[in-house]
Subunit: 430 residues, 2 copies
């Protein structure tokens, strides 16, 4: 029964991203990630994703295949004003629907363009061509309307490829449309596909795996996922489509993950390390300053991605040269001479100098060898020292990272921010 429920075609979806730039242009399709999340919340599972260029017969092929295996097919892209925009024609060819200029599509577009002081040009008028019998989906953000069409038991939905337009239309039109179309008898009791995410830093994938051993009983319709990246191991709990799960079962699993992984979890869900650190600083009324060397501004960039970060971030400096380390941070010349710029002693002096010169609550420092050059016999590429100075207490950490220049820099920035996070959490607990 569970397999039957999982394979009920009505609740299987496919995304089709259309555009030659997704084949050749070095761009990946990220629209489908958003669509997968939002459909999951109403119990619909995206099982297939396709990508095809601006070629009518190729789109037709892909669309036919999708209609055979999915009850919901969402196409993004190819609705623009140029001759390269083939989605309308391909849908008409597959379904046999005629394209006609629809009044509601035209009026929405005119109203939208009028806001920008324009009238539709010839190309934009093409955008009002919608298959007969389709429902027009208004585009409150851009000029191209979308549409929804039921064909042989499949719900076809065509949306623009511009992410901001696609997102708005999915939330405002597509979800309400699907909820009204999916048969209530089937969707009643249908569970949303829930996915809980835990971001960890500092443990290997194998160690996380070991800590979570035996977490999920075989009978439970929940999948555990682990995914390693330069910024840590992501742990996910995903409910299976079409299988019932007691309301509190997922909650207890999540609690068990938190217990087993403890402070190794730095964030959950959509949260980022810099948001977590920012909230701790803001909540404790503390300020921070950062002295970077090998991370070259990455810590500063990440901290300032958070709106309002100016209230707790005083300043940051990138000191590549020894001269800059002495001038801006007061690192004593003899430390640089005796231990080298990449050393525990210099990391400590950078953090101390930064805190003393700025008067912030806590200063963070990083010095290391990101490579590919710069290694010595005793100091390999990937050797990084992190310093933290909070006045009463100060600490340093030695790390050895693997990977290319970019990966080493990402890991070093993550390790430094995590050191700050743990320090702030301990302060908050005092």
């Amino acid at each position: 029964m569970s397999m039957r429920a999982r394979n009920d075609r009505s609740f299987i979806a496919e995304t089709i991203a259309i555009g030659s730039e997704l084949l050749l242009g070095g761009r990946t399709d990220s629209n489908s990630l958003f669509i997968t999340d939002v459909l999951g919340a109403i119990g619909v599972e995206v099982r297939f994703k396709s990508i095809v260029g601006d070629n009518r017969s190729d789109i037709v092929r892909v669309l036919k295949t999708a209609c055979n295996r999915a009850g919901i097919v969402i196409l993004t892209g190819g609705l623009g004003p140029t001759v390269d925009d083939r989605t309308r024609e391909a849908i008409a060819a597959v379904t046999g629907a005629r394209l006609a200029r629809r009044k509601e599509a035209l009026e929405g577009m005119k109203a939208r363009l009028a806001q920008w002081g324009r009238i539709p040009n010839k190309g934009q008028l093409r955008q009002a061509l919608i298959p007969s019998q389709a429902t027009v989906l208004p585009n409150p953000v851009g000029s191209a309307p979308g549409f929804a069409l039921a064909w042989r038991g499949t719900h076809l939905i065509a949306l623009p490829g511009v992410p901001s337009e696609m997102r708005t239309m999915v939330e405002q039109s597509v979800i309400p449309h699907l909820l009204s179309q999916l048969q209530p008898s089937r969707s009643r009791g249908r569970q949303p596909l829930t996915r809980l995410v835990f971001h960890t830093w500092g443990m290997s994938e194998a160690d996380v795996d070991a800590k979570l051993k035996g977490l999920i009983k075989k009978s439970l319709p929940v999948a555990l996922g682990l995914l390693a990246s330069p910024t840590g191991v992501l742990v996910s709990l995903t409910t299976e489509a079409g299988r019932a799960l007691k309301e509190d079962a997922l909650t207890s699993l999540a609690e068990e993950v938190r217990t087993r992984l403890g402070e190794w979890i730095y964030a959950e869900g959509q949260d980022t390390m810099e948001e977590v650190v920012g909230r701790l600083l803001h909540g404790q009324g503390r300020t921070v300053a950062v002295a970077e060397s090998c991370t070259g501004g990455l810590i500063a960039y990440r901290l300032t991605q958070v709106p309002g970060s100016s209230s707790y971030l005083d300043r940051t400096v990138v000191c590549y040269s020894n001269q800059a380390k002495m001038e801006l941070l007061g690192v004593p010349e003899h430390l640089l001479r005796e231990h080298g710029a990449v050393s525990r002693e210099v990391a400590a002096a950078m953090a101390k100098g930064m805190r003393e010169r700025t008067g912030v609550s806590v200063a963070l420092s990083v010095t290391g060898i990101a490579g590919p050059g710069g290694a010595t016999e005793t100091k390999p590429v990937g050797l990084v020292y992190i310093g933290l100075d909070g006045g009463d207490d100060a600490m340093t950490k030695e790390c050895r990272f693997h990977g290319d220049r970019s990966v080493i820099r990402q890991r070093a920035a993550q390790a430094a921010l995590d050191m700050l996070r743990r320090w702030l959490m301990n302060k908050g607990n005092l």
Copy 2:
């Protein structure tokens, strides 16, 4: 005839990326971008891309469809040691091949693991299961071997999903294998799919389009592509598959693009703005320092992404507070009071102070409002001032960017680096 050549199935490829994290995990498939480029160079066109989870029957469906429309099918992922790795079984199910533990696969894996001081565990032994009649493709980087199998006129190639392993195997094994398999009579005279890319900054997509109007005669088998992003408009010239093009025709088109777009082109091909700026600085023996406010370290991070940047980048500072602007850059308090931190006068003073205090050849500064907060009646979100001070000459620029916080910061960093690039180019021409 050209359409026939384009639709010769032998030269049509499809990529299939396998892994539930590509459906639900917030990850996009970037392996296919690399595969598309490399296959293009031998005249093979990737026309379809599919993504599917770790579900055997779903992989089987996708694989059957791919074999019907493509002569070359490259699968990535699902070859690992766990029960979730289903690619081998799915290929066996579709082709009817039997899976057997192959000696050459096992020996390669053992040798690889021995380098790390390990022996294969039970899961890893599964990785040596290869369909009968398939050619084993060695994995010199990781433990899972790949394989190639001809079935009903389609070349099936299975590779690990780890990007570094996939790349090495494509270059070392897949391309030589395909070149030996594609019939010489067909591939002789077959043109590689060439793609030339020009990166521009400072012009709108419509303006670039207008400048390039009439560039390509209809009879020429070359497509012009434009793609807008926060870091500018990308222009591409792509040759069409299976159609002959005179050797110098693409060269002259590229020359014409350079003439028409001139200094708006900041880089070509894989080059980045920071690499171009870095080469100019290095070549001219000049040094640089940067004072950032709203970009929060992004300019520093980009400049230091380039290996060897320590030879020309002295230091950078992020001065969020007025205090930091006065202390670190010597910005006069009366300028901050009279004009505000986001002003042409303060941008100029930041650059001047930075250059004078560090003795670098040229200093760059940015101050602006990235939003969402911080706007005033006269200073909207997106208002950014850029300053450059080269001693004898100094300049400032006012910009008004649209978009969210992240987009405004990306545009501001790009604009500042472009100002530096143009200044260096003029110096080089003197």
